[in-house]
């Protein structure tokens, strides 16, 4: 089966054609460098993306920004967003804290990308 993939490694953005048979890459054409082949292989067989979002925190005026600790399967993006939207967290939360384990069975955690209600950000807020 042939897939069309735009390479994201550099501004050239090569339009590559990837031929996949039985879950294996048979050929990649249209790339101008080796990085294209690696990307095309990953992208055609098991595309992955980081997911970032915000979560409400009880009593906090600002929501908390979160991310998946690693890229997850592209098809899990929307289920992952649903799981994240269902969260309601309690402060304090520290950057890097796991807020949701093994999201949608991906084996990947959702972690906080900022702190709320922990370390004062400026001396005046202390």
């Amino acid at each position: 089966m042939e897939q069309l993939i735009t390479c994201i490694n550099c501004p050239i953005g090569c339009r590559m054609t990837v031929d996949v048979e039985d879950g294996k890459v048979v050929s990649v054409t249209g790339n101008s460098c080796k990085r294209g082949i690696t990307y095309a292989a990953q992208e055609s067989i098991a595309p992955k993306r980081m997911v970032t979002a915000v979560v409400y925190v009880r009593g906090s005026r600002m929501p908390l920004s979160v991310k998946t600790s690693e890229p997850i399967a592209k098809k899990l993006i929307f289920p992952c967003m649903q799981a994240i939207k269902a969260l309601m967290l309690e402060a304090p939360i520290c950057m890097g804290d796991v807020v949701l384990r093994d999201v949608c069975g991906s084996g990947v955690d959702v972690v906080a990308t900022k702190s709320i209600g922990t370390v004062p950000l400026t001396p005046e807020q202390a």
């Binding site: 735009t6 994201i8 501004p11 950057m95 005046e124």
Partner: protein, 435 residues
């Protein structure tokens, strides 16, 4: 009355605690500036990074992909470690060319500072609807992309459900994905140019991933709705960017996001009589990031709009170091030459470079610029007067990605003292776009 109060003395005063201001502060402190003050208008440090919750920041500087808040936090922690005095909630009202800074805040009222050196790090602002001259009603539901980003990511509000995005700058692309993930339907991203000004990665991961059409050579020609936006009319444009009659299509939507460019926020720079560059809409600077007003430096998006925060930080480290040296009384000696925009080059920065002195080993100087259009297989040439002294081939150059050129110590040492010009030679390539 306030004129009677004698201003507080500081060595280096930095305006803005976004990525540029924080990096400049860290570098100035590390370079030995004794009294250092950072003034920030918002309630927190971090600038625009606070609302950029997506990842992809820091690959060049930290060799890892961070989200905006994580990138900012690394600098915030360093600022705390160094004991740098950052005052949030303080708005700078005035800067004079002799570096008298007036600021106002709830806590301290009106305050004045006499700075040994000032670093301008105010960032940039989005181009608003008013700058576009789109006809139609002035209904609710029209936001700049960054405003929508702030609503969703910092305040937890969704600005709309059915969205059209005008302009394909990076913030617009990022918001197409963000709104989609948050449950909105993004109907199209409309770009007047025949190419996108956004990063390729964002076109793939924010539009293609969600089957959002990118309509190149199209624009919004009418806006409909009384109280709230009900729809927009989209039309194709010709080579002169004029709408083509007969191509109009009505698209029903409740939200229009504008991602049509960023403008450096230089109101304060102008008060200090800092000469501006027309192409960058930022200050004219030399290779130490000093403006034409002695002791006033500029870095980050207030100087020229960057694509990557990593380059903002790198530039700002240089500015911080140079400002600390200026505040100590060190002055640059020797002749300055100009760096001029040649064919196909817009806003080469720095606009001046100092000729190396006999007693110092020159450091390489990086010149950043925007290509005027898309070039394939182009040659970038550096001319010393009329003589070509350097050439590099580039597979692709596009306005959406800042290009760079490094002037090596050897090259700098051999300069004749005439102005240098940077050219993009398209004779071996074409000014085109392949989509």
């Amino acid at each position: 009355m306030c004129d009677a109060v004698s201003p507080q003395k500081v060595d280096v005063l930095i305006i803005g605690a976004g990525p540029a201001g924080l990096a400049a502060a860290i570098a100035a402190k590390e370079a030995g500036a004794e009294s250092l003050l950072v003034l920030e208008r918002e309630d927190e440090m971090g600038g625009i990074l606070r609302q950029c919750i997506h990842n992809g920041f820091g690959l060049h500087r930290f060799k890892v992909e961070l989200t905006g808040p994580e990138y900012a936090q690394r600098d915030v922690l360093r600022v705390h470690e160094l004991g740098i005095d950052v005052r949030c909630g303080v708005t700078v009202l005035d800067v004079t060319s002799d570096r008298l800074v007036t600021a106002i805040s709830k806590q301290a009222g009106l305050t004045r500072y006499q700075a040994g050196a000032v670093i301008l790090a105010m960032g940039c602002r989005e181009r608003p609807r008013g700058a576009l001259a789109i006809p139609g009603t002035r209904c609710a539901g029209i936001f700049s992309a960054g405003t929508a980003q702030k609503f969703i990511n910092l305040e937890g509000y969704m600005p709309g459900k059915k969205v059209v995005i005008l302009g394909s700058g990076d913030i617009g692309l990022i918001m197409a994905r963000r709104m989609t993930l948050q449950g909105a339907t993004v109907l199209a991203c409309v770009e007047i140019m025949p190419y996108s000004s956004g990063l390729n990665r964002n076109i793939v991961q924010c539009l293609h991933d969600y089957d959002i059409p990118l309509l190149l050579s199209h624009t919004v020609v009418d806006i409909h709705g009384r109280e709230r936006l009900t729809g927009v009319t989209i039309a194709q444009v010709d080579h002169q960017r004029q709408p083509i009659t007969g191509t109009e299509t009505y698209v029903e939507c409740d939200t229009l996001l504008l991602s049509v460019g960023l403008i450096p926020e230089n109101e304060l720079s102008k008060k200090a009589d800092v000469p501006m560059n027309q192409a960058t809409q930022g200050a004219v600077v030399d290779d130490s990031l000093q403006t034409d007003v002695p002791g006033i430096f500029a870095c980050g998006n207030v100087l020229h709009v960057h694509d990557l925060v990593d380059f903002v930080s790198a530039e700002s480290f240089k500015a911080g170091k140079a400002a600390a040296a200026y505040a100590r009384g060190e002055r640059r000696k020797g002749k300055m030459i100009r760096v001029l925009d040649g064919e196909g080059v817009r806003g080469a920065t720095p606009q001046r470079i100092g000729l190396p002195q006999t007693d110092d080993e020159p450091e390489p100087i990086q010149v950043l610029f925007r290509p005027a259009c898309v070039y394939e297989n182009a040659v970038v040439r550096v001319l010393d007067g009329q003589k070509e002294i350097h050439r590099v081939k580039r597979r692709i150059l596009a306005p959406g990605e800042m290009a760079d050129l490094t002037l090596s110590p050897k090259l700098l040492g051999a300069l004749s003292g005439q102005d240098i010009t940077i050219h993009i030679d398209a004779s071996e390539g074409v000014c085109a776009w392949n989509s």
